[in-house]
Amino acid sequence: MKSETNASVIGNRKNKAVVETVAQIIFTICALFAILAVISITLYMIASGTPAIFQVGPKEILFGTVWAPTAAEPRFGILYVILTSVIGTFMAILLGVPVGILTAVFLAEVAPKKLAMAVKPAVELLAGIPSVVYGLLGIYLLGPAMYKLEKLVFAGSKTHQYTGGANLLSAVIVLAVMILPTVINISETSIRAVQPGIKAASLALGASHIQTIFRSILPAAKSGIMTAVVLGVGRAIGEAMAITLVSGSSVNPPLPFHSVRFLTTAIVSEMGYAAVGSTHRNMLFTIGLVLFAFIMLINVVLSRILKKGGAKR
């Protein structure tokens, strides 16, 4: 390599300067790539998401409750789809976050060191399992169990439409399990990062270990735990493949035993057959745009929390 000799300590000065400048320019371009990517993703999402808004009308889209894209008189209301994503995510957080935080407390404060050392890698492993595997277990194990429960709950009902176990509740359970590793890992790290003085002071004042954990340590680790929750929300609202089959296949109001469509599952299950250039396909991009808006909102919230946590230190 010629440039190598030029860049050496006793190399030619002129060439050296050229190599240096070129290197700096190349690295700068590499770094700008992230900005370029985010800008082009944003522009493309907006560009492909807006045609349908003009074709159908924002009011019909956001407040319409009928989703019949392939009917003779197609309807494109996604209110229920949006609500499903919001409520489904909320329920998953409600289920997953307490379990996750308590597990993190267990690992960081309660468990003997050896046990914690054994459990931690396993939790990390869980984070790496492909989402389709969760979906597979959901449809294979959870589905039938949920169907039994459904038959039990609606034993006397004549109006209930049976979902065969593919309903909002199943999807929520799958999502709750999926966010566990994220919540556990980040909460545990932030609990461990709490200054030992805080714990010592609380114990010295006569508080029990449990009081110390819940009154002193957890509040001190608040920003880290908030980050964990927000990341969990992001993961749950953006998850597609794991819940496509377990959430059912029709658009309904988000009630536990209804077959529902999330923002993500609507895209996955209909993109395959929506004709190119049709309003139906454009609408799927609009759904993508709505999801993108949610994610951007979450990102902004996240960076606020991180900034606040950083400022405190």
Partner: protein, 296 residues
Amino acid sequence: MRKDSITVKRRRPMDTFLVAAIYISASLSVLLLLGIIGYVFIKGIRTVSLSFLTTVTSALNQTVGILGNIVNTLYIIVITLLIATPLGVGAAIYLNEYAKPGKLVGMIEFTTETLSGIPSIIFGLFGMVFFGETLGLGYSILTGALTLTLMVLPLITRNTQEALRTVPDSYRSGALGMGAAKWYMIRTILLPSSLSGIVTGVILAIGRIVGESAALLFTAGSAYRLPKFTESAAGNIGKMFRKIMDPGGTLTIELYLRMQKGEYDVAFGVGCVLIVIVLGINLLTKAAANKLRPVK
């Protein structure tokens, strides 16, 4: 002993309740975890055989196999990393060694964060429209790999950055003080010392690629066949390169399609293979982080 003596521990019902909650949650998490891994492994291992791993599903030969998907996965891993590793490492070098703190760095770091938070289905939509339609690459392995490049870029950038930060400043001043130019210093001092971080980032990226499905469904497609090899070596190499422009489904896509069709045995077989790969990647990351520590 009197009841209100300071040597008597007062029982707090709330404490007992919370301790119980902690233990229940922890055992639930651990059981779920072991249950998931164990169940998929045990259920899937029955399907996994030599012919499952080394043949392509074909009605003619009466074989059910995932070799085509394994090859597709490897193609996508290699192409994605070939593009993403230099980009990510370069970005990290710029952020750590060249840039001065300011608006631009803030922007780059914010967008990197944003990229890692965007769900894969959005990447899938973007990849389908931009690489597939605007650039005309269609449903192909290349489209999938380019889409995934955007996805794994933050992982590599962040891990490299972290590794660069651990290199002591004295290394830099030492090299520069001896008259080395900046790029020479980066190439001979910084990159070798931060190799472990780069390798960790790459391994994590492989894990992400292997597990990805939503971003690939509409970009790389779902084909599972292999190119038919002929006698001539040149023709075969050409075919191997042309495969980049063909659609190809990875292991996760195959799993999804099988489970959609209700073929759970094959689906669990693929799931078992995936879990073994994920386990391997996990161990590799640990090994990389331990073994390749920067020289002291």
